[in-house]
Symmetry: C2
DNA sequence: TATTGTTATACTCTATAACTATA
DNA sequence: TATAGTTATAGAGTATAACAATA
């Protein structure tokens, strides 16, 4: 096994790292879809890096978690939303959303209202303070988005964005009831 | 404000959703970098969807978290690694890694050894069971990666992966400490 | 019966920081 | 002094499940 500094040198170089991965898989005699491997691992790395960066810079200054920011942003764009849809859109469970909304409501940034026509439902809207906050913070957030994506070739950005949209759609499809895979759906 | 079903219909359609976003930003008079917005939001959605899908399918069957799987994978590819490098590679803090390794060691999948030449360091390697597990699980994991990326046009996959690599590099650059701080990469 | 939102439990991961043992 | 790893705390987020109110 190589020493630590050698690992560091190779791991810091994505190309060398992928060569090591290919060599290891070859040694194990495994046939692998490298493009799929590469897309998935880089999507995950990129997302983690972005979230951490935003939480340490733009969002830390406003004491907002990533999820709280996304919720405010969604409410701002669509001028309020039913709680059940907001959970889906923000990518959190309904249990998590309850906690996030408790916090945002306590800070006076959002408001919950029971719906009259179906009293099981709750509609969430931004308060004036919440609206002011997102209007103030989003330009800074977007400026960071621009900086972070600045290293991606301009002519590739649309392809990357479109490819990721397709990927999300593909995961949704893959997550559907496993009609084609008998015996794979009995987990919980 | 629109009713819930209208929201659902529009949010399920990424193109309509992006039109709504553009309209809202325009209404607010904000100038926005749409490509950057689109890349960042789709990276995050894709990563969340992928992680959840894997944890519910391939990884659930082996009772592995995403992080535990990544750690095993890294140790397998590089034939063991110093703990400090493993933390970086798996994308977790050293505190989190301690807990993950405790679990994996308890299950007999990895082994920790204090280094002789520098007794502050710990080297982690896979046990025979750990090696067998990753050799068994990775083909299934990669098959899912293939399924999930199947909806991305084949000729775009390499561009997406390369673009994301560039993005990660860009975030690292953006996260670099100000020049006034003499060189230290620390992790609390 | 089914759905929505809330509450609760247990677990994972994060940031931060103190602590140890080494260097 | 600095570094590596462990431990501890507080706070998000997750899955899961129970629950009340409502449909």
């Amino acid at each position: 096994m190589a020493d630590g500094s050698t690992h560091r040198r190779r791991l810091d170089d994505p190309v060398a790292a992928e060569r090591d991965i290919a060599a290891r898989l070859d040694r194990a005699g495994l046939e692998v879809d490298y493009d799929a491997l590469s897309v998935v691992s880089n999507v995950y790395r990129a997302a983690t890096a972005i979230r951490r960066h935003m939480e340490r810079t733009v969002l830390a200054a406003e004491r907002l978690s990533w999820t709280a920011f996304v919720a405010l942003w969604v409410l701002w764009v669509w001028d309020g939303m039913e709680s059940r849809h907001l959970a889906v859109e923000a990518g959190v469970s309904k249990g998590t959303l309850t906690g996030v909304l408790d916090t945002l409501e306590r800070r006076g940034l959002v408001r919950r209202r029971r719906q009259e026509d179906d009293r099981r439902l709750v509609t969430v809207t931004l308060t004036a303070d919440g609206d002011a906050l997102i209007t103030r913070v989003y330009p800074a957030f977007n400026a960071e988005e621009t900086r972070l994506t600045g290293s991606v070739a301009a002519e590739h950005r649309a392809v990357v964005a479109a490819g990721l949209r397709d990927l999300v759609r593909g995961v949704d499809v893959a997550a559907e009831p496993p009609l084609t895979r008998p015996g794979a759906g009995t987990d919980g």
